[in-house]
Structures are given as structure tokens and as C-alpha cells.
């Protein structure tokens, strides 16, 4: 397997898994407006997935397409960050996860936009417009809920504390990354510190990092359950058309 195939899986699996997670809110979000906004965000990410996994399939050149990569791989073949497979829990937790991912994703796409690989640069440029909006929206929501009521503040702090150990993996870099992702950390920290301080949330003190998502070495127990729901239909009815 070429490095580029792995690198593209990392991009496409992040948006696929988080896109599916966010879509789980469809119809059950706390208010109608948020329901629609979350569904839009999920659809943006699924659209980005089609581009990344489509390119990955092309690079792999073994007759698979984006659908085959999304629906016919098992847990150990996924290369997404552990952060994005974490369950939704409450709305605050979902928005904190979105904010932390968006803040990383924005830096990543901004860097990839100047890639020498034309298709990668084009996907990054298209995605960046969507992700700029995602980041704006998730930042505003983290601020509104963090600096909101006593209950919303407590829930956002709990979400931040719970998710923080998954931040480190976003900046662990190896030969399978499209760029040196560790270089994105200072800009990420600046953005996150900014939003957290306006949110009146306390920055977690720990640097402990869960790892194993982007290498596929050790996903959390949540991914398999999610894939079972996500992949059931195309696996049970492989020839279904819709």
C-alpha cells in the first residue's frame, strides 16, 4: 500500500466518521434550527468524504470506489482520529468535539490548499469554505454555552475535560501524513485558547494523549458499533440502488 493511499484515507475517514456521528442528531436535536444546521454540517463532511475517498480509491487502483472504502472495510482498516469516533453524548459534548475537530481541520485544509498535488489542493480549497463556516458556528456555540448558564457551563467543561486527551493525536505525525501535522499545533492552540478564554472554560492541564486511530492500531470500542449501524444496509443488500 502506498503512503498516499493511507494519507488520503486519514482525510476521508475523519470526515466520514464525524459526518456519520453528526448525522445521528438528525430529527432529535434540541431545536429545529440546530437540527438543520447539524444535518448541513454532516452533509458537508459526507461530501468531502466522497472526494477524499474517491481520490484514495483512484490512487489505490484496485477496482474499489469511495462507497466500497466507506462500507466494506472493518474497524482496523479505518484511519480516522479517535476524536471523531467518540459518541455524541449531549449536545454540548457534540459541539465541543466539533469545535476541536474544526479548529484542527481548518489548519490542515489551509495548509493542503497549497499542495503540489492538484487534486489534493482542489479538494482542500473546496472544503475550506465549508469548514470556515463549521468553525465559526462551533466556536460561537462553545462560547455561548461555556459563558451561558451554570448548567451549560458545567456541561461544556465536562465535555472539554473528557475530549482533551484526544487532541494530542491530531498532531502526532508520521510518514503517512500529507504534511507534518505537528507544525499546525501553535495556530490550533492560539485559536482554542482564544475561544476557551471567552467561553470562561478552564484549559485542561493534562497532556495525556490517546493514540491509535490514525494508524489503525487501536480504535476505541465506539467505532465498531457505529460501523454496524452505518454499514448494515449496503452489506445486507449489496446490490441495492437508490
Amino acid at each position: 500500500m502506498s503512503d498516499l493511499f493511507q494519507s488520503l484515507l486519514r482525510m476521508g475517514d475523519n470526515t466520514l466518521i464525524l459526518g456519520h456521528r453528526v448525522s445521528e442528531w438528525c430529527g432529535v436535536a434540541p431545536v429545529l434550527e440546530e437540527d438543520i444546521a447539524l444535518a448541513n454540517t454532516a452533509l458537508d463532511m459526507i461530501g468531502q468524504t466522497q472526494l477524499w475517498l474517491g481520490l484514495a480509491a483512484e490512487v489505490e487502483d484496485k477496482g474499489r470506489d469511495a462507497d466500497a472504502l466507506a462500507f466494506r472495510r472493518d474497524v482496523w482498516d479505518f484511519r480516522n482520529l479517535l476524536m471523531v469516533e467518540q459518541p455524541n453524548r449531549d449536545f454540548g459534548h457534540t459541539m465541543m468535539r466539533q469545535f476541536l475537530f474544526d479548529a484542527w481541520h481548518w489548519q490542515m485544509l489551509d495548509a493542503l490548499k497549497s499542495s503540489e498535488h492538484d487534486q489534493i489542493a482542489a479538494i482542500a480549497e473546496k472544503s475550506l469554505k465549508e469548514v470556515t463556516y463549521h468553525l465559526e458556528r462551533s466556536s460561537d456555540t462553545v462560547i455561548a454555552l461555556g459563558d451561558g448558564t451554570e448548567e451549560s457551563h458545567a456541561r461544556m467543561q465536562a465535555a472539554l475535560d473528557r475530549l482533551w486527551p484526544y487532541v494530542g493525536e491530531m498532531f502526532l505525525t508520521d510518514a503517512h501524513d500529507l504534511i507534518d501535522v505537528s507544525a499546525l499545533r501553535p495556530a490550533f492552540d492560539a485559536r482554542v485558547n482564544d475561544v476557551l478564554s471567552i467561553s470562561t472554560l478552564t484549559h485542561p492541564q493534562t497532556d495525556f494523549t490517546h493514540k491509535g486511530g490514525k494508524t489503525g492500531a487501536r480504535h476505541t470500542e465506539h467505532l465498531g458499533h457505529m460501523l454496524a449501524a452505518m454499514q448494515f444496509l449496503p452489506r445486507a443488500y449489496p446490490d441495492a440502488k437508490w
Binding site: 438543520i36 465559526e136 460561537d140
Partner: protein
Amino acid sequence: MSKQEWPLWEIFIRGAHGLSHRHVGSLHAPDAKMAIKNARDVYTRRKEGVSIWAVEASAIAASSPEDKGSLYDPADDKVYRHPTFFDIPDEVGAM
């Protein structure tokens, strides 16, 4: 526990440059900034617009339906207010 609702906002979208903003519907949002964001997600998903206005519904003064007799009926028999008595040269085109 009583549920606090966000205020209601009336949303106006301009479909293209040069057109006026048109009322498209309403939504709830905690503040003006979020009203614009929610409007973007609720009303412009299919490329409906190039500009959004959000107005808090409580800020709109509206005429009362009971007054419709005195407000609108007097215009019924005043056809001369329509500029239909002028001959418009064909070359002017649609007006």
C-alpha cells in the same frame, strides 16, 4: 422547570444582486448573529440567496386585520390611480 424560548426572528433573503430582500419565513435564535447563521442553514441551503436580513419579530409594527375596511377598501373605485391611461410606445418594452 419552565422552558425559555429564544426570540422569534423574521428572515428576509435577497435572491440575486439588484433584487429586493423578500420575506421567506421566521426562526428562533438567541441573538442577531445566530439568527443570521440559522437563516443561512434553514433558508439558503439550495443557493436561494446572496444576502440575509434578520429582524426581531417584536420590532415589526403591523397593521391590524380589523382595519382592513378603512385601510384598503377606499382604493377599490379609484382606477385612475393606475397609470393605465397612457399610451406606451412599443420600443419602451416591459415596464
